[in-house]
């Protein structure tokens, strides 16, 4: 029997919601391939563990990394494998709603829906991530009030103002939490002369990274390869250093939130002062980020209680009420 699906195709993580069931899959958006034959060797968590640890003939990639589809063929294969794993075949033919980064182009959108149809979906439609996030975070978007969502993912940050079930203003940038990892990697290489992998950089970010000074900060021991000697080496990294290293990324994320605020009509703008803005996405969990955005915008920032699931929950809600909500698909609105 066909069970309709909602998919959050994130730059870092992919989640799948099955109608009537809930979340049935949650794993990194990574695929590992044999470089020579092009064969898929692993997906999800298994492929994620290979990042930076593969022999030459294996390559582990995040096809949506920068909020854009760099390789259509690999993306299509990832979508097909994903649907197969949750039981989709040419015989079940479910309806599928997919959330994609808002910044992707018309051509990329078509590639995603075509891939889902070819994998067996009877119908495939897209919905903007911040819209889905607002539904999933339980904001009162059915009312004529200004609701603001900030979704900070791996490769993208998207801010939207939503009222009466529609997007009033949207600002999407291809800057996210992956760029924080890269900034940490660059800093450690430049200032301490050691090379670290992206997964180590991510661990440092989660362990001691912050966007604003916070209480009880610790140093971290960082292990990498000494660029001069080529030998393994450990150095100490302070939270101040990490803050300095990631400052450019943080300020461009904050700047995009401010641009979105400035696009909102004044009537809705005043609502934010009372209602606040809602922060979702893994990148939003960075220590001090909510405080930093609040300080620079003078608008209260609230953390969603389902930061990592809000998008797939919102899309799941749309699949539960498909007939009533099909007007919300990308392209359905004028």
């Amino acid at each position: 029997m066909a069970r309709d699906l909602a998919i959050d195709l994130g730059t870092a993580n992919t989640l799948v919601y099955m109608k009537g069931r809930g979340i049935v899959l949650n794993e990194p958006s990574v695929i590992a391939l044999n470089r020579q034959t092009g064969e898929v060797l692993a997906t999800g968590r298994e492929a994620w563990q290979m990042i930076g640890r593969t022999p030459g003939y294996i390559v582990a990639v995040r096809p949506l990394r920068g909020g854009a589809i760099t390789d259509f063929e690999i993306t299509e294969r990832m979508i097909r494998l994903l649907l197969q794993r949750v039981g989709v075949s040419r015989f079940t033919r479910p309806k599928v709603v997919i959330c994609v980064p808002s910044a992707i182009t018309e051509v990329e959108r078509r590639a995603v829906t075509d891939a889902a149809r070819r994998a067996g979906a009877a119908d495939a439609n897209l919905i903007e991530q911040p819209m889905a996030a607002a539904i999933g975070a339980d904001l009162p978007i059915d009312e004529p009030v200004g609701n603001m969502v900030i979704d900070i993912g791996g490769g993208t940050s998207e801010t939207a103002v939503i009222s009466l079930g529609g997007i009033v203003a949207l600002e999407a940038v291809r800057v996210g939490s992956f760029d924080i990892d890269a900034a940490i990697q660059n800093y450690v290489r430049r200032e301490h002369g050691i090379a670290i992998g992206e997964r180590t950089a991510e661990e440092i970010k989660v362990a001691i990274g912050s966007a604003d000074p916070t209480h009880g900060e610790n140093q971290a021991e960082v292990r990498g390869r000494d660029l001069m000697t080529g030998l393994p080496k450990t150095v100490l990294l302070t939270p101040e250093e990490v803050r300095f290293a990631i400052e450019d990324v943080i300020s461009s994320i904050v700047a995009s939130v401010i641009r979105c605020l400035s696009k909102a009509p004044p009537e809705l703008s005043q609502d934010f002062l009372v209602r606040g803005m809602y922060l979702v996405g893994g990148g939003g969990l960075l220590r001090g980020l909510a405080e930093r955005i609040e300080r620079e915008t003078q608008v209260p920032v609230r953390m969603s209680n389902v930061p990592l699931e809000a998008v797939v929950l919102g899309a799941g809600h749309v699949i539960e009420h498909y007939e009533a909500l099909k007007g919300m698909f990308m392209g359905a609105r004028r």
Partner: protein
Amino acid sequence: MVVAVILGIALRGRSEEDGVDSFRRQIDALSSEARKPTVERVKSAERNADDADSSTS
């Protein structure tokens, strides 16, 4: 001719009402009340996952 005009008016009237109806349905489906079951489903899934975690440890 006349038939076509009348038909045209009838269709237009109906499509305008359709607009009101579908907008209302959309807004109703987005209410906090309507969203409760979806959100609950995830909370219960999380509880199950927690249970599974604790049973394995």
